[in-house]
Amino acid sequence: MTDNAVESEGVKLQTPSRVNPEFKHEVLSMPGGETLKYCFQCGTCTSCCPIADITDSYRPRTAIRLAQLGLEERLLSSDTLWLCAACYTCTDHCPQGVEVKDVLRVFQNLAVKKGYIPRVYREVGKNILNAGYAYKISKFKMKKRIEKGLPPLSETPPAHMEKLAKATGFHETIAEMEDEE
């Protein structure tokens, strides 16, 4: 298998200092990451994944293996971490009961903590903090709603969004990104 070759090549290239033996424990301790340890590398997740089906660069099984091996930096800095379409096909097919999609999401959350995050999430995050919705709300669209006979869109109290964001650490992530702008 091609991804096997890539993986073992990558493992050989890593120097011992790049391995973080604690990394898997960090994943295991996070909500949703608990099942990482059950993976026995059968490859079912990759073979049923709609994204892996159309691109060679995305392999959920490989991502799980990198975490088990402690190759933290290589896993978290990879662009391909963000190609999961969140369809849950892998989760429903894993013979070992690994919550594959949730484990991958834990990797993404950890990548964000290290500062790796695709731009689009900044936009979405800002929209939610400002007005509670993932998309921007334009005056034009709101007017159009009324014209079409729809009730006005309910308004979210921004203070609630901010408070929840501060309690969960989401605020920090989005604010930091704004500083970088």
Partner: protein, 321 residues
Amino acid sequence: MSGKSESTGNSESKKDAVLKYAFYLGCATPLRERAYEISARRVLKELGVKLVEMKGVNCCGLPIDAVNHEMTLALSARNLVIAEKMGLDILTLCSGCTGQLMKTNKHLKGNRESRERVNSYLKIIRMEFKGTIEVKHLLRVFIEDIGFEKLKTYIKRPLSGMRIAAHYGCHLLMPSKYLEFDDFEDPKFLREFIALLGAEPVRYADEKECCGAVIAGVNLDLPLNLIADKFRNVKNAQADAMTTICPSCHLMYDQHQSSAEKMFDETYNMPVLHFTQLLGLAMGIPAEELALDELKVSSEGLLTAMEQTAYVGQSVRKVWS
């Protein structure tokens, strides 16, 4: 408890009682796919289902799960609490919202540690998750609360001769342990719905293939590959139209159809209707009231063919092509 205050619990009486729900719109439907909201409200009015608007709600949380799972839980729990205070079950249109709200609801109901953690966030805004309501996608309301038998009595203009391909999408089925609905590998609910409307459900290759909407903002090429695949399969099966049950899937197949055509230098010309629009048409509601004109890929040819076949009783495809 049951969120439907005017029903008494057992499923028989439920089907006769006035159904009432807290209506959760989410983001994609009102802000990107208005036709879905318009047609859903229109058919539900006709069916006598009462919708109570939810005040002060926010995004379901799914779009930022990859960034911060705790915030996602807090956002979805906040919506659930608003419905709890209304004493009503939530009715959803978006499969993504449905999946997120159902997962959070079930998880928080069954896991004390998570519930306490999320409630510690909600406490700051003076809210508390109690776990007293359920979440249901509109299609599940049709199946489980209204029942197909009763729904059938509303069909006045069967869509005879129309060959329709069902796009199931992912989040109404998976993860199956949370959704507990149909067979996640080979579902049939949407084909049965199409048959109920008098149309012919078309089987095609890779029916369960994902639309890829979740990563469209990160990498649009991959989802375009997925939807092109879908159109080829659907066309091979000679479908006249496709139908979706989720605004994000619809956005991919309708609004991005032309991008996929350009990318692969192919022509699909495949109308993609919201399942509520199809139902409305079959109920005899005029097309103008179902916002069919808001679709990017025109359904005009399809509708004209429908008009004609209604009189001559032949297949839409013969008339149309």
